[in-house]
Symmetry: C2
Subunit: 242 residues, 2 copies
Amino acid sequence: MLFFTQCFGAVLDLIHLRFQHYKAKRVFSAAGQLVCVVNPTHSLKYAPTRCAAAQASTEQGILPPCHHHEAVHDPQLVPCTCPLFSCPWEGHLEVVVSHLRQTHRINILQGAEIVFLATDMHLPAPMDWIIMHSCLGHQFLLVLRKQEKYEGHPQFFATMMLIGTPTQANNFTYRLELNRNQRRLKWEATPRSILECVDSVISDGDCLVLNTSLAQLFSDNGSLAIGIAITTSKVHSSEAEI
Amino acid sequence: MLFFTQCFGAVLDLIHLRFQHYKAKRVFSAAGQLVCVVNPTHSLKYAPTRCAAAQASTEQGILPPCHHHEAVHDPQLVPCTCPLFSCPWEGHLEVVVSHLRQTHRINILQGAEIVFLATDMHLPAPMDWIIMHSCLGHQFLLVLRKQEKYEGHPQFFATMMLIGTPTQANNFTYRLELNRNQRRLKWEATPRSILECVDSVISDGDCLVLNTSLAQLFSDNGSLAIGIAITTSKVHSSEAEI
């Protein structure tokens, strides 16, 4: 009898270890879709001045818009686009991805459709969940931000940016989908270029916006699953119908 | 020459009159879909006490939940569910529709898919746009509300309620869709029963929520077109995938 009890205990331990192993892995596949578990990062900066300059330049059609350091003379250089830190790095658009991976340790995923599983949604604002997504020959940055636009009322903002120019961004459509508790919320839009600055996109509210109660309804055990799909742009056929 | 000029003027007048006629009609058909032009109504009441009692009863599974007047002894009576006014009317669920039509002059539309065109979105909160929708043998109440949850920051809340019991409501799914400016926002959910009180649904934020900037992006000339579709419920097939 003791033998069977010990065997049962060992099996339970193995199951527990296996579960921990999967939990620890940041990327795994479930139900045929690539699921990426993304842990939150406390934002160390909110530097509106950097973004204000970037936005002003973008509106005037000047590229690269985020470039406003007088000391640098190469107009092809762009500043670090990581929304987490005030980073002094500047470089060409082609090397932004490797900078984000190496310096800011942002993961990159492959695949046209993935599930972004943001953990610990209850943590206090400001908080960011960030991942890069490689798809259709381009790299995209998905940012989920918890922020208090109105004091005491945190909201969640989710957007997708192309690590490329606004012209390139116009060739794509991204979709974010939440689906749980007999509710479904879908947001489809053209990704904005990373040169336009993620902070201004979020402060304009031109993204998927969730209040806390809705985020809770879509969450499971403190984690929010966002289905992501990227396609090449086509005219929204039903736009004319409405 | 003068004759032709006068003829041309007369034709222009006729076109203008025809346009005015269509504009004045509250319901017309465009692009194969029934479009309902809904003008805003300034809300005369916000009575949370009535709704708090209703919600408490619903949570306990007692029906009809909004009934809490001691003077009335018939448990089948429900109070007026019009979200616009504090109305003393009470009656059976079956006659709520005729009360809303006759007393509160809320229009009713037929059709599985309609477009709700809310005008004058710029008017200050609190404001309501309301229509009834007859479909699949039942009547639904669509409420779009502009309200300031956070002072100085008006938001738009849209929800659909079944004029029936919560059990009946579980048999349906409604979809609200906004589509404009290369952005698309879809909200799908089970309609709530009108017995649950629209005010509490909106204050919980368990509905389609739009901030002002997003509402402007989806608006055309001050009007917001919301595509509405109602279907009988089925399990959300992709829910298991995420």
